[in-house]
């Protein structure tokens, strides 16, 4: 098995090469003007370490996999095309209104609560480029108002005259009956044939999402259209580059569903957040390989803290209405929470509570923390880390960024004055506040899904993760932390171990059972009986899945289908994804089985009394996951080795300060490269791992495991 997996991020292009059983990680700077250059450099670096020629590598690799945050960047930079939108007449304001709540999506509570300063993000399609089509389809798919084509042609012309580069179409209930959306596409093709220069891409909402909800479907289609060009050009460049290198096999794109596919089966929306999702996939893979049980994966960088859950047994949490940037969309995406906490988070004095508040403002990388000495004046978490002695001013980020302690001290002064404390005490407060906030986020994730923290192992990666892991875990009530192997290129590692996967969805409201009045009789529970109708939906979704794989040259026999049903009780909004054991409905037993599963799901997550079968049990959405199980990457067993080895000689000592301990504590420093599996180091200790620093807090011990994995385990719990 030979593979290349790449994660193209905003700064670095991470690469993992698997060649003849060896796993090599390498990095290069991302080259935004032509992604291929950075990619080539990363591969070349890896080849150097492997000691082979890149040509030979390309010749032997069976697949190349990409994860990327390009889409996310395009949204932040607003570098997409000018777009027009056609909606059903009467729905013109839908996108602009963003369900009302759109002003707060993607923001923290502090921003959400301040209505006086609440602003929606600038729209991707301004109101002036939205047109209402005279047409209407009802909820069941029946046409109640035939489309007015003449008017439509005029509207399209107006938009084209305005210079739109992409046309998005989202008509009401197009998921129940797409004929009107398809007709728009036909008309556009008639007016602007594709062989002429005036032709533009048309994105139809029902093809981007199979779900009901005109706003979320429209915003999905818009987001997809917006990223389409950027992704298309970037990916095409890469593909051409690979062709030039003599590579003839598939280039696979990691999807935010946790699966992957070739370019011809990928829409742009599916690539957003695929980097972090690949990280979660790597965690899942790790958990399976090493039997780690439930994991909560955390990625703490400079500005954000990502949290994802990996549940034992492969059950995945998906978001079906995730927020991308500041827009809610509807696409099945692996559930991932991002908090605005990182090394750059700024601390302020909170007058109301007379204590320190950290975030949500961030100094980012420009100007960065005060200690970077690049103009930042506000105290940040990294400043606190520096003052507490955890960071080596000479050796930060492998020595690339020199840190100035005096800047951090100055930045702390104001808060220190307000609180009448010394700077070290303030730094401790900043660190514990930041850790506490992140821990709160972790706990919240677990609790709101009905899980208990003590059943979880925390995975910590990202630049600042291992530095704060012990403290976050302690606040969250978790005793085991794993810094995973290949943590520097963890997302790439996730890409390497993925398999092709496609979701196909269809919204259809089906009451499995429902109280209703029949004639003059009193209300009674009526059960669904038309099983064939349900099976037809499933079969059709499976066919689409197979066709998708066939397009990528994967034989239909290899395809596996998993039927998931989004279910809810008649009167509630909460939906649960229920996996059906089999793929066809045969009788009422199947319905009762589903109802039972739904009830069990609710009870375990939200408590006794939350299931409400009295108001009917409904299937609201059918989803078929079509996948092929590829051979995964053979990571080693990262469980703590049985054999314990004593700590090596420290390479130095520093006076460090710890929350809850007075005064400076003389703390040994180690070099991560000297760690061999089985080495145990008791806290307090600092381990320099080049790009990151491991902090073993008092009361914790570190145990090194295979492939560079490191455990932090709590000593003082019992």
């Amino acid at each position: 098995m030979n593979r290349i997996a790449v994660d193209i991020g905003g700064t670095f292009t991470d690469c993992m090469v698997i060649h003849d059983g060896r796993i090599i990680q390498s990095k290069a700077l991302t080259t935004h003007y032509n992604l291929a250059l950075g990619f080539n450099e990363a591969v070349t670096n890896a080849c150097e370490r492997l000691g082979i020629d890149p040509e030979r590598l390309y010749g032997s690799v069976d697949s190349i996999r990409y994860a990327t945050t390009l889409g996310t960047n395009a949204i932040i930079e607003r570098s997409g095309p000018k777009m027009g939108l056609l909606v059903t007449h009467g729905f013109e304001g839908t996108v602009a209104l963003s369900r009302g709540r759109g002003y707060g999506e993607g923001l923290d509570f502090e921003a959400v609560r301040d209505l006086s300063n609440a602003d929606r993000p600038d729209p991707l399609i301004p109101l002036s480029l939205v047109r209402g089509v005279h047409e209407r389809i009802d909820a069941t798919g029946k046409v109640v108002w035939p489309i007015d084509e003449e008017r439509l042609r005029r509207q399209v012309k107006e938009l084209m005259d305005d210079g739109i580069q992409v046309l998005v179409v989202c008509l009401a209930h197009a998921t129940s009956n797409p004929t009107h959306e398809l007709r728009v596409q036909e008309i556009l093709a008639e007016e602007y044939p594709s062989h002429l220069l005036g032709a533009i891409p048309v994105i139809l909402s029902h093809q981007v999402s199979g779900r009901k909800g005109e706003y979320v479907r429209a915003s999905s289609a818009i987001m997809d259209a917006y990223l389409h060009g950027v992704m298309y050009h970037a990916m095409a460049d890469l593909e051409v580059n690979l062709g030039d290198k003599g590579y003839r096999r598939p280039m696979l794109l990691v999807h935010n569903t946790g699966g992957m596919a070739q370019l011809n089966s990928t829409d742009a929306l599916q690539t957003v957040h695929s980097g972090p999702v690949a990280g979660i996939h790597a965690s899942e893979h790790l958990s399976k390989r090493s039997g780690l049980g439930n994991l909560v994966a955390t990625d703490m960088g400079g500005t954000s803290f990502d949290i994802g859950l990996i549940i034992e047994g492969g059950f995945k949490h998906y978001d079906f209405a995730p927020v991308i940037g500041r827009w809610m969309v509807t696409t099945p995406m692996v559930h991932l929470v991002t908090l605005g906490s990182g090394g750059g988070s700024i601390a302020t004095w909170d007058r109301v509570y007379r204590t320190v508040k950290v975030g949500p403002k961030s100094a980012g990388s420009q100007p960065g923390p005060a200690c970077y000495d690049r103009g930042g004046l506000a105290p940040t978490v990294t400043d606190a880390d520096l003052l507490l002695g955890y960071l080596d001013p000479e050796n930060y980020a492998s020595g690339r960024i020199p840190l100035r302690r005096v800047r951090s001290l100055m930045a702390m002064e104001d808060i220190a004055d307000d609180m009448d404390l010394d700077e070290i005490a303030v730094a401790k407060l900043i660190k514990s506040t930041a850790d506490r906030d992140m821990a709160t986020g972790v706990m919240r994730e677990l609790r709101s899904k009905g899980y208990l923290p003590e059943d979880f192992t925390m995975l910590a990666y990202g630049g600042n993760g291992p530095l704060h892991a012990c403290s976050i875990a302690r606040h969250a009530g978790i005793d085991r932390v794993l810094v995973p192997p290949y943590s520097a290129v963890f997302s790439a590692a996730g890409g390497a171990s993925m398999s092709p996967l496609h979701f196909h969805e269809h919204t259809r409201m089906v009451p499995l059972c429902n109280m209703r009045k029949i004639g003059t009789k009193p209300k009674q529970m009526v059960f669904w009986t038309d099983f064939e109708a349900l099976n037809r939906i499933v079969a059709e979704l499976e066919e689409r899945g197979k066709a998708e794989l066939a397009r990528q040259g994967i034989a239909p026999e290899r395809a596996r289908h998993r039927l998931e049903l989004d279910m809810r009780y008649g009167s509630q909004k909460m939906e649960a994804a229920i996996v059906m054991e089999k793929n066809r409905f045969e009788g009422i037993r199947d319905l009762l089985d589903l109802a039972g599963k739904l009830a069990a799901n609710f009870e375990s997550r939200f408590g006794k009394g939350t299931p409400a079968p009295e108001s009917g049990v409904w299937i609201v959405n059918f989803r078929v996951a079509t996948h092929v199980d590829d051979e995964p990457v053979a990571m080693g067993d990262v469980r703590p080795p049985e054999v314990k080895l004593p700590a090596p000689e420290p390479v130095g000592r520093r006076a460090c300060h710890f929350v809850g301990r007075d005064g400076g504590i003389d703390t040994p420093c180690f070099d991560a490269r000297a760690l061999t599996p089985g080495v145990v180091i008791h806290g307090p200790a600092i381990i320099d791992a080049g790009d990151t620093t491991y902090l073993v807090e008092p009361g914790w011990r570190m145990e090194a495991a295979a492939d560079g994995a490191v455990w932090f385990l709590r000593d003082d719990r019992h």
């Binding site: 602003d119 909800g213 429902n514 409400a612």
Partner: protein, 1242 residues
């Protein structure tokens, strides 16, 4: 027992109470003991409900907080518990069933042991933070020690009656006591908008509710769960009381589960941090918030800001309800909120708000718009005190319904926004942006009925959450985003709504033009939703919005308030059938729908924002709108680029961009012309200065001593301590009896009855009459002087009249009376001219009423011309320049110094514009308006005298007379009216090549100056004379002009004499002096047409019927019979006369009719008299052009066209049928095209 405690702020003790001071402590104890053991009913306790402040520390709290506290630890606990609340908020949102709660009308909270909300979920309804301690205090006070109830671990209490706290009936809240061991350490809360509670109106609130006993399930706090389980008997009781039974069950369970999850998390936190720390944190949070709020108040400038806010409907009828608010920042960091002067409560309308709701309005305003960073808790209002009138809209009693109290309560949010914005404007460290108010009405459809899935429902659509944001000091407000009482609540997806409910939303989220407020920064725009009921289910709608006539949301610092859109109903049609057949021109925009009415056969109706529940038929459309957030700052300061952006986005109209924002731009390209825009804006600023008034003038003009007559007004007027209560006025809280408003349906029925009986529409019965107010103003010296002068002159006139009476005796017999009357007319004319312009106008008005004064006097008055010496040239120029804002030389190339005509109101100069066009410039005399009031007052006295002197006046309503006069005078004095009339005539006659009106140069005209085209024409009489002989053509033109005005346009030049016409070239008529014009309601036009029919039928009886038949109150049967008889004789005589060719018009007939009615003292409608007099005048004029012109023939010829082609009368009109019986009207028979069988009608 509580019934006997006088609440704070209550001045009135209830009957049977003892004033506390009258009792010694011993006696008091005895009395209390007696009352306690003999209470029949545990009602709402004012002692609890008037106390919004946090309670004392518990023992444990006091112990924990008296020592050293670790603020950082507390903060950690707080963060954890808040996070718990937030996640449980989300779980609850997803597991409850009530629609509003599913869209975030919900809150979760932790309370201290005495029930103060210490922490509330971040999302959701802030208001729950300040209303939940009332029920808990009630439970603690009354149920804790009651052996039949008690408080034990695993109990949960449910409440929804706003009389016991909470927000309003549809909100159902659950509280659960939390024990650690035996100690009650706190409470957990899940409060939400349940909606359906079995009220008379589906969804728990609605206009139809008239009594507290129609508000559905009235939950005082009851123990709904024990031992962590719901009690099935009580659950069944509640389910049995409501429409949505399953929803109720699901929600009860979901809330219980939420309270339990919160309790579990409390325990976990206590296990991690210690109970003391957790309890301490909760209490400490309250105290910190209280302290911080005091600090923030201290930053505000000392002083008082005031505001008044209006609710324009009681939900059942249009009314002006006032919410009067003043906020005073006082020493020591306190704010006093004074709501006195607010409307009194309404005994049978549900928009009354208990004091609790009024306070929460202030709290919500503060939390959402000023101090969003503070945790939500009652401590926010710790340093606020409230004063209000008892039994008022903001402090209602327990005897009145209050389900819709939020409609009123939201006004307090707006009040807080406006007043606090003003107070905090200069505070340097703001915790939020200064902004104009949020839209504040629950503008969404409520619905009820059965769904396509067989579910019974009764609730509210999430659209109400889409309230638009107010403009900020530096940027526009956001379009509909969330309710002003909550954060991030959701307006939902229409596709989902249609999955769940039997509706198709033909407009789901659509902005209407100009449904944004206007200002330097505009408020967010509201949106329109349009529902069509779909499928076979029984389903209907209801709405509870106010502010569809009067803006509910006011602008800030010069910005406009929210525009008002009513609810529109399009009924009697199935839109689905129409669309399937391809209806042309259908558009989901309500303005288009109402203007173009593409659905044929439908009724188009608008109703005020509140609408009683009604079932809809399939395909009927209901359109409702969200209002706009208010605007900030002056429209003239808005960046033209932003105006164009709004225009492009369809948020404003072209008209608004040009005429309100004064932006000049190219209509095609929308490119702004910056210079011209600057010019326009400068001009408008100058015009504003010209329109401006001094403070005293403004007060004199605008401040009225009392509300307009006929307006249903509630609340204080000016600074009077007394309060209006619709029909009464009294001291607050002391109305002679409860204010009961009649059921609007009864009124409607009465109107229908009256319509059937009289044919008179009384829809406009409540009419604003500014004059009455004016006349009620106190005398000033000037007006008194005027009065004296007028009276003095009158004495002189009366003396002269008497003298003439004597001299007339010398005239030959039979002519004496005529001569005397002629003399009287002369004296009257002189007198009126001497008294000034108002009186001249009076003369002109009187001249149109020979029915009152007799023909002789009226005829004399008709010749009334007021020759007044012209103004000095300089004065005329000064007026011109001031009014136009430019120098005469800038406008005119030439300006004639001597006027070519001069009258009391204005004089006319000749001039020439810069571009060479010749113009006539009409300039108003100065200082006329100031005299009018004095004149009118003098007149009203005079009319009183006239009534007793002149016969015919006795049947006359002098107020109507004066009102008419006032309007006529004012109308003539404001040239804008004349200009508008000129336009209207020009438009009406645009198709006639032989008639035109002088072109008016708008840019050089104003309310004081009219610059119009100079017409080179001659007086028509002169024209005819010069051409020698008669001019039949001109005669027919003029008469047809009259006919067209009256019967086709219904808009009539009320001053048509030869002096107001010119003939240009070869017989082209030019109409001048359009100052006096009258618009006739169809009713009178029909009546006049029928009068013609009666003439044609020579049927005097019928004519009697025409005038009196539907107005039995005007004449008794005997008089009516006499009149009819006389009329009939008169008609016969006239007909004979005509047959002989002696008369060619109807003049004698009309005059005789008027004289006859005057003889019988039967007043005629002035409109009818005006129509007759109009015909007389015009007939006279026409006969001067051509004595041979046969008016009657013309009428006969034209009538069928009017009746049939223009459809003025329905074919089954009894008069038409009667007329068609006569051979006289062959034309009519032919025109009907049917052969009427005479026998059938004989």
């Amino acid at each position: 027992m509580n019934l006997h405690v006088c609440a704070e702020g209550e001045t009135l003790c209830r009957p049977g109470t003892f004033a506390a001071t009258a009792l010694g402590p011993e006696e008091r104890k005895l009395v209390d003991a007696f009352l306690t053991t003999n209470a029949g009913f545990v009602g709402p306790d004012p002692e609890i409900l008037y106390d919004h402040k946090m309670g004392p520390r518990s023992e444990r709290e006091a112990r924990v907080l008296s020592g050293a506290v670790d603020l950082n630890l507390f903060q950690e606990i707080r963060a954890r518990l808040t996070s718990v609340l937030d996640e449980n908020f989300e779980i609850s949102e997803q597991t409850v069933a009530a629609p509003a709660a599913k869209f975030a009308d919900l809150s979760t909270a932790f309370m201290t042991s005495i029930g103060d909300v210490a922490l509330l979920s971040n999302r959701g309804v802030a208001a729950f933070a300040i209303v939940m301690h009332y029920p808990v205090r009630h439970i603690l006070k009354y149920w804790r020690d009651d052996p039949t109830v008690g408080i034990r671990p695993g109990d949960a209490f449910l409440m929804n009656d706003a009389r016991f706290g909470g927000i309003h009936n549809p909100d159902q809240s659950m509280v659960m006591p939390h024990f650690v061991g035996d100690e009650l350490v706190g409470w957990t809360v899940c409060a939400m908008h349940e909606g359906e509670v079995g009220a008379r109106a589906p969804g728990g609130m609605g206009p139809s509710i008239e009594s507290p006993y129609e508000e559905g399930f009235r939950g005082s706090p009851i123990k709904i769960a024990a031992n962590w389980e719901l009690k099935s008997d009580l659950v069944t009781l509640i389910q049995n009381s409501v429409r949505e039974k399953e929803v109720m069950l699901v929600d009860l369970r979901a809330r219980l589960a939420t309270c339990m999850r919160l309790a579990r998390e409390f325990d976990k936190a206590a296990a991690d941090y210690g109970l003391d720390a957790v309890v301490g944190t909760l209490r400490h949070t309250l105290e910190l918030v209280a302290e911080e709020s005091r600090r923030r108040i201290e930053e505000l400038p000392r002083g008082t800001v005031r505001g008044q806010f209006y609710v324009d409907s009681t939900s059942r009828e249009t009314a002006m309800l006032k919410v009067n608010v003043a906020m005073s920042v006082e020493e020591g960091g306190r704010i006093l909120v004074d709501m006195r002067g607010t409307s009194p409560e309404l005994h049978n309308r549900s928009i009354n708000a208990p004091i609790v709701t009024a306070k929460l309005g202030v709290m919500v305003g503060l939390m959402n718009f000023f101090w969003p960073d503070l945790p939500k808790s009652p401590a926010v209002l710790q340093h606020f005190d409230f004063v209000s009138d008892p039994k008022s809209l903001m402090n209602c009693s327990y005897d009145v319904p209050n389900a819709q109290n939020v409609s009123t309560g939201f006004k307090m949010i707006t009040a807080t926004e406006v007043l606090m914005s003003k107070l905090s404007f200069q505070v340097p460290n703001k915790t939020a942006a200064i902004k104009a108010p949020w839209y504040n009405q629950p503008a969404g459809m409520m619905y009820g009925g059965e769904t396509q899935h067989g579910h019974e429902v009764g609730n509210i659509c999430a659209d109400l959450n889409g309230m638009a944001g107010g403009a900020r000091w530096n940027r526009d407000g956001e379009h509909s985003m969330c309710a002003n009482f909550a954060q991030m609540n959701d307006i939902g997806e229409s596709e989902q709504t249609e999955e769940d409910l039997p509706v198709v939303m033909f407009s789901s989220k659509k902005f209407n033009r100009d449904l944004a407020s206007f200002g330097k920064y505009r408020g967010g725009s509201g949106y329109q939703t349009m529902y069509a009921r779909y499928g076979r289910a029984n389903f209907g709608f209801q709405a509870i919005t106010n502010g569809s006539k009067f803006p509910s949301t006011v602008g800030l610092f010069g910005g406009y308030g929210s525009p008002c859109y009513p609810i529109t109903k399009i009924k009697g049609v199935n839109v689905f059938e129409e669309l399937a057949e391809g209806v042309a021109g259908y558009d989901a925009d309500v303005v288009e729908l109402l203007n173009r009415r593409p659905l044929k056969g439908a009724t188009y109706e608008t109703v005020a924002g509140a609408m009683e529940f009604e079932l809809a038929f399939e395909g009927e459309l209901y359109v409702v709108h969200q209002g706009a957030g208010a605007a900030y700052g002056d429209v003239l300061e808005r960046d033209p680029a932003l105006v164009i952006k709004d225009l492009k986005e369809g948020l404003i109209s072209d008209w608004t961009a040009r005429n309100l924002y004064f932006v000049a731009f190219d209509a095609q390209t929308l490119v702004v012309d910056p210079e011209k825009t600057a010019d326009l804006r400068r001009d408008e600023r100058l015009a504003r200065i010209r329109r401006g008034k001094t403070w005293d003038a403004f007060v004199a003009d605008h401040v009225r001593p009392s509300p307009p007559v006929g307006l249903l007004y509630f609340g204080r007027w000016n600074d009077d301590a007394e309060v209006y209560g619709g029909m009464y006025k009294d001291m607050p809280g002391e109305f002679p009896r409860e204010i009961m408003l009649p059921d609007p349906k009864l009124i409607y029925e009465a109107i229908l009855n009256r319509k059937v009986v009289s044919g008179v529409s009384t829809e406009d019965a409540i009419e604003y009459d500014p004059l009455t107010e004016e006349l009620q103003q106190p005398w000033t010296f000037a007006s008194f002087a005027k009065f004296l002068r007028v009276e003095g002159l009158m004495v002189g006139m009366l003396a002269k009249m008497a003298g003439s009476g004597l001299t007339s005796l010398f005239a030959p017999r039979g002519k004496r009376m005529d001569r005397w009357l002629d003399r009287i007319g002369g004296h009257l004319t002189d007198y009126l001219v001497a008294c000034g312009p108002t009186f001249v106008k009076l003369g002109q008005v009187l001249s149109t009423r020979p029915d009152l004064l007799g023909t002789a006097v009226a005829g004399r008055l008709r010749k009334l011309q007021d020759k007044v010496p012209p103004m000095k040239d300089a004065q005329a120029r000064a007026i011109l320049e001031k009014s136009l804002g430019r120098r005469v030389e800038e406008v005119f190339a030439e300006f004639g110094a001597t006027p070519i005509a001069s009258a009391s109101v204005a004089q006319v100069h000749r001039g020439r514009l810069k571009d060479g066009r010749e113009v006539a410039i009409k300039i108003k005399r100065p200082g006329l308006e100031a005299n009018v009031t004095g004149d009118l007052r003098a007149l009203s006295t005079l009319v009183g005298v006239l009534r007793s002197v002149v016969p015919g006046f006795s049947g006359m309503n002098p107020r109507e007379m004066i009102t008419e006069l006032g309007l006529a005078v004012r109308g003539q004095m404001n040239f804008l009216g004349e200009i508008a009339n000129n336009r209207r005539f020009a438009r009406n006659f645009a198709g006639k090549s032989w008639l035109r009106l002088p072109e008016i140069h708008d840019e050089f005209s104003s309310n004081e100056v009219i610059t119009m085209e100079f017409i080179h024409g001659v007086n028509p009489l002169e024209y005819v004379r010069k051409r020698g002989k008669h001019d039949a053509d001109l005669a027919e033109k003029v008469y047809s002009m009259y006919f067209e005005m009256v019967f086709t346009n219904k808009f009539f030049h009320a001053d048509l004499h030869s002096g107001n016409m010119l003939v240009e070239g070869e017989g082209k008529i030019v109409l001048l002096d359009t100052g006096l014009a009258h618009e006739f309601p169809s009713y009178y036009i029909k009546r006049q047409l029928r009068a013609y029919l009666c003439v044609a039928a020579v049927d005097g009886y019928l004519q009697g019927d025409n005038y009196l038949g539907d107005r039995p109150h005007m004449a008794d049967e005997k008089t009516k019979a006499a009149i009819s008889h006389d009329l009939h004789l008169m008609y016969q005589r006239w007909d004979k006369h005509r047959a002989k060719g002696h008369t060619k018009d109807l003049t004698t007939l009309w005059l005789q009719i008027m004289m006859l009615l005057r003889k019988h003292r039967v007043p005629l409608d002035r409109e009818l008299v005006m129509l007759m007099v109009g015909d007389i005048t015009i007939s006279g004029l026409v006969h001067e052009f051509d004595p041979e012109f046969d008016v009657v023939e013309y009428t006969r010829h034209e009538l069928p066209r009017l009746i049939f082609r223009d459809g003025k009368l329905p074919l089954n009109d009894p008069y038409l049928l009667a007329a068609s019986r006569r051979d006289l009207l062959h034309d009519i028979r032919r025109a009907i095209g049917i052969d009427v069988d005479d026998d059938e009608y004989v």
